[in-house]
Amino acid sequence: MPRTSIRSAPKEEAVDFDALYRAHAPVVLRWAARLGGPLVDAEDVTQEVFLVAHRRLSRFVGAGKVSTWLFRTTDLVVRNTRRKLRWRRWLGIGPEPVSPRPTPIEALERNELAAQVYGVLDQLPAQQRRVLILFEMEGLSTEEIAVLLGARVGTVRVWLHRARAAFVREQQRRGLTFSCTSGAEGQPK
């Protein structure tokens, strides 16, 4: 499973948009897909993130790490997208039309196991959901998560502990048993 290496992110003194895009687009796309889940178009989110990055690049220079800034931007865009989706579901409008090309979401929808995992994750508070995804899926350490979220390490660990407990409770409440029948789960590293 690919992991984010924020240590390899370009420094702020070398901020150039083309270089920024080349270096961070795969990471941002993965963040968007994993934070957004099966119902969010990760490519749209990534485009939106880099549009915002281009618009605000001058404000960012010298303000911190690029990866941290991009993650927060991605997180905000994902939250806005999920909020809009919830409103559309509540109003009965339905999800936005999806482009005909095969997307990771469509592939995910065919994977029932992944859908079950995100179904449980969506019931968690946003902070716990975010921390659990970064820890389990992205493979980030608590220190790296603290850097991305701008929180202390101890706080991140508390969030992660609560997120795990909440995930287990929600799984048990739903009566889900994750039996790995498909070969998509991969191997632990």
């Binding site: 995992v117 799984q171 998509a184 590293k189």
Partner: protein, 504 residues
């Protein structure tokens, strides 16, 4: 659930039957499912729009901010001005034409102003009328009023009537029509009783009052009367000297002792400067050229019917019955015309103004001087105190060639040497000369000449004074007048005549 500090990731656990291992496998599967592939990344690169390097024009934002600030400032300033106008003491600027009466009223104070003048009225804590030119008659109805003029302050009690005249070249003048008023000039207060003037006539004596209470004024007098300008000189010390000069024969100029100020002036302030030079006769001239070169010239014709006329006024319908004059406050009885040669005039009532306008219309448009005179005799100005009525009467009498009667009316009028009065003054001098009263005529002509205005009246006055002085035997003075005329008006209408009289 173990604490993250001492536990491993679910996704790091090997596959097994434990719950954590199953959850780890599920997370791995979910992560693999949502991980974008290379094709997705390629699509993203192709769909990514080219970054627009054009930054928003921030100068426009700055300009918009500046404009908004300017507009806000303008609106704020307008609001402040509006509030200041609403809150500040109100001033009224009134322009009063000759003979016109303006009734002003605010906060219980009522005032009648008769022009000609332009005045500013402050109607707040202390009602004040500020005039800068012309003449004005003021009748405060209910409360005391203050008139401010250059070098002059006049306190007018309610029910009094005062005329303040700034037209004379010699300085401001105050006429107390009725009621006693207080005049402050050069730091000293003077009480002007009914029917008298300030500065007083030579026969009158108004002593300055050092006590403001005695003068009936609220303001204390200035403690420094020694710094009095020429007004104080006119008010007190200068007058005896003027009388001495007047009593002296014009043919014998006063000696140095008579020109000096009196040793012991009769009234304070003790310092009595020398009167203004225009009041003095010119010094004796060197021996005159042969007298035969100067023949008594004929007096210039007196075109008085046109000269003394104020501007024509449109005909006004005469009301059948005179409207009641609005005097809500009882006033003390107005004195009749004083016995002094100079008449004290009062403002015309609206009824009188209409009748006077009709008289002028009869005179100038219908050429019926007798009808105008009859109208004035029968209807207008029963008190004989309205100045405009007197002017109309003079014009009608001159049109009827009743010059002696016209001169009699002119003799009763206080005439200054400025403005419209210059016509009256020149005409009166010429009438005096016609009747042989050359001394009085010279005085009238001198007043016109000394007003420092160069116009046709100045020409006539110079010619008239030269003729009168010639008749009085003052040939050198007459020659000086003719030379002065030629210096001022080398191409004037009397230039050739003057050169012929002066001789080579």
């Amino acid at each position: 659930v173990k604490h993250p500090s001492d536990m491993k990731r679910w996704t790091d656990l090997p596959p097994g039957d434990s719950g954590d291992a199953q959850r780890g496998a599920a997370f791995r599967a979910a992560a693999a499912a949502v991980s974008p592939d290379e094709a997705s990344l390629a699509r993203l690169k192709g769909a990514m729009p080219a970054p627009d390097h054009s930054r928003p024009p921030r100068w426009s934002l700055a300009l918009a901010g500046v404009l908004l600030l300017a507009m806000g400032s303008a609106v704020g300033a307008a609001g402040v001005q509006w509030a200041a106008r609403r809150l500040a003491p109100a001033d009224d600027l009134v322009t009063v034409d000759a003979g016109q009466t303006v009734h002003w009223q605010r906060r219980g104070r009522r005032l009648a102003i008769t022009g000609p003048t332009t005045a500013r009225i402050s109607g707040e804590a202390e009602a004040t009328l500020v005039i800068t030119g012309g003449a004005v008659s003021v009748e405060p109805a209910t409360e005391a009023f203050t008139v401010e003029a250059p070098e002059l302050l006049v306190k007018i009690p309610a029910g009094s009537g005062v005329e303040v005249d700034l037209r004379a070249a010699s300085g401001p003048r105050v006429l107390a029509h009725w009621g006693e008023v207080s005049v402050k000039a050069a730091g000293a207060w003077f009480k002007v009783p009914t029917g008298q003037t300030w500065p007083p006539a030579p026969s009158e004596a108004i002593a300055p009052s050092a006590d403001p209470a005695a003068a009936g004024a609220a303001d204390p007098p200035s403690p420094e009367p020694a710094a009095a300008p020429a007004v104080a000189a006119r008010a007190a010390g200068a007058r005896p000297v003027a009388r001495k000069l007047q009593a002296a024969s014009p043919a014998t100029p006063p000696g140095p002792a008579e020109l000096a100020p009196p040793e012991e002036p009769a009234a304070p302030p003790p310092q009595a400067p020398i009167p203004p030079p225009q009041a003095l006769e010119p010094p004796p001239q060197p021996p005159a050229p042969p007298a035969q070169a100067l023949e008594p010239p004929p007096l210039p014709p007196a075109p008085l019917p046109q000269a003394v006329a104020p501007p024509p006024q449109p005909a006004l319908p005469l009301p059948q019955a005179p409207p009641p004059r609005p005097p809500p406050v009882p006033k003390p009885a107005r004195p009749l015309a004083p016995a002094t040669p100079r008449q004290v005039f009062v403002p015309a009532t609206p009824r009188e103004s209409q009748i006077i306008a009709e008289a002028f219309r009869l005179l100038r448009h219908e050429r019926r001087p007798q009808a105008a005179l009859d109208l004035l005799d029968s209807s207008a100005d029963p008190r004989g105190l309205v100045r405009e009525a007197a002017i109309a009467r003079v014009e009608a009498l001159l049109a009827l060639d009743r010059r002696v009667d016209a001169l009699a009316v002119l003799k009763t009028m206080p005439i200054s040497a400025t403005g419209v009065d210059r016509r009256l003054l020149v005409g009166r001098g010429e009438l005096h000369a016609e009747t042989g009263d050359c001394s009085t005529a010279v005085a009238d002509f001198t007043a016109v000449i000394n007003s420092q205005q160069r116009d046709g009246f100045d020409e006539r006055a110079l010619q008239g004074r030269a003729a009168c002085r010639q008749r009085l035997g003052q040939t050198s003075a007459a020659r000086a007048d003719l030379n002065l005329y030629l210096a001022r008006y080398p191409n004037g209408r009397f230039a050739a005549q003057s050169r012929a009289r002066v001789g080579p």
